[in-house]
Point group: C2
Chain length 291, copies 2
DNA sequence: CTTAACCATCACTCTGAATGATGGTTTTCT
DNA sequence: AGAAAACCATCATTCAGAGTGATGGTTAAG
């Protein structure tokens, strides 16, 4: 039972005649006859009574007709959906680090959704390492990750420059006399974690312990409670609920700035949904990045 | 875009691999490759990224997938609906005279619907002549009509024997001094109307005028109001709201009984819906008919 | 009584679905 | 490092079935 057969079936049922259906479909009459017969064989039951003049639906035909029309309409919708996905609408799956998703994306996503409400937008969060792997595996249309990615299949573009700061509890006003040797960070794979480890080592704070947490709030909450130190974008800390219980410490200038890049596979399809998303994101990102 | 192609597409999308889909479908791998390529050509856009190991959906493929699964499910439903229409469920379209529909069918229909709630039941009313024509034209699966139908394509079966009575307003106690020459009846084509004309002629009541009405209540209401005389099954008159304002007069014995036959085309499909309907109708009709 | 409309059947062509074999690439296992 | 396994693309080939055009039989309309 193929869609083309159902199309012929519907035409015959609607015109009430094989000949007229053939004319409407621009087929030869014998072909319409044959395909209806084939469909009847396939379903194991007659669909039409053959009258002296024209045809009439059998009970089985009556049962099939509404399904046939629904199937044809749905198939048409599907075709349009595929067409649209190459055009404006469709779906867009982007990855982002927790920190980017928390403070940089909300306004972009809101604007984008307002401008293109038909796009089915999904944001996946994860560590930069995970996001890169997923983008390479075509699971993501693209992702915001920390730091440059050098890979022949990946193309990237700078979107934000985050100023990184050490974050401690409020009472710790200087890092020189760092009372704890515990660092808090996201799980392995986070771009900032690698830098945090490097920086702590340069401060002579080794060996140290790294505790892993899954969310921004968990990390900063624990830091505020005096559990340890972490490295975060200033922008993120300034917007957290714990900001009054935290103290920010500058990072040496050469390691203070961390770029957030948007990456995607070079061979990923250039959908309009993606292009418009990037255009809008560039517009909204640039003043922040430069400021 | 045919259903078979969508089935292959879904299998590939679900297994994440052309080879595995081929194994599941019991096809050869090269065929699955070719049909996916054909589908992509057909839709004008790639549906899968080809990875080193396996494949991944493109945005267009993501857009198509939910439609494809819906289409396949719906097609399956359609197949079952057609199958069922040959079995128990399905639709049943029966015709009946107004009088039969009013007093004989309700209990049958109620019982039938209770026993087979999945059957989509339709009752079409009309004159016997109209119903016969529609049954011959395959528009009805069968019909209850007045009197025997002799036609090579029609088979019939006796269901009810109606006792016909003349009906006049209450004050007219004898037909001998019939004060009016007006008869009321359904429109031309009604089985009882022919008999009414015949009987009136035999009573010497010619010329007379026949007024046509569309419903039972209209006719009996007008008779009650003294407009004229009509011929109706006793059973119908006894159940009308006007019964107290009417007087019933016997009809000569040789013309008093009118059979109600169920007719259908000999070549109409023997659906289970129809067979079970007739079985139930026979059971419910026989005591009434004999009593 | 002719004409037109309708459906079934047949012989034929040709598209495209399916097979099987081959080659290239990558991953996995030893 | 080398062998084996998994995966996809391509090609030549076979075969089913979609579509054509012609014909014949039947019925309704003129």
């Amino acid at each position: 039972m193929e869609l083309s057969a159902l199309g012929i079936f519907v035409a015959v049922a609607e015109t009430g005649s094989i000949s007229q259906a053939a004319r409407r479909l621009e087929y030869v009459q014998s072909n319409v006859t044959a395909r209806i017969q084939h469909l009847e064989d396939n379903l194991g039951t007659p669909l039409f009574y053959r009258k002296k003049r024209g045809i009439a639906l059998t009970p089985a035909g009556r049962a099939l007709l509404p399904y046939a029309t629904r199937l044809l309409r749905l198939a048409d919708e599907a075709r349009h959906a595929v067409e649209d996905s190459a055009q404006g609408q469709g779906s867009l799956i982007v990855g982002a680090m927790e920190t980017t998703a928390a403070v940089r994306l909300p306004s972009i996503l809101a604007h984008y959704h307002q401008a293109y409400p038909d796009v089915d937008l999904t944001v996946v969060t994860g560590t930069s390492e995970e996001l890169i792997a997923q983008a390479l595996d075509y699971c993501l249309d693209g992702a915001f990750v920390g730091g440059s990615v050098v890979h022949p299949d990946i193309e990237q573009e700078l979107f934000f420059e985050e100023e990184l700061v050490f974050v401690t509890e409020r009472r710790v006003t200087t890092l020189d006399a760092l009372p704890q040797r515990t660092a808090l960070s996201f799980r392995q794979g986070c771009a900032y974690r690698a830098r945090l480890e490097h920086l702590l080592r340069s401060y002579g704070i080794v060996p140290y312990k790294i505790m892993e947490f899954g969310t921004i709030e968990a990390i900063l909450g624990c830091v505020a409670a005096g559990m340890g130190i972490t490295l975060f974008p200033r922008f993120v800390v300034e917007r957290t609920a714990y900001r009054d219980q935290l103290c920010l410490h500058p990072v040496p200038a050469d390691l203070a700035l961390a770029p957030t890049m948007f990456i995607r596979r070079r061979d990923a399809l250039r959908t309009r949904a993606m292009e418009t998303f990037l255009e809008l994101a560039r517009r909204l990102a640039s003043p922040t990045a430069s400021g």
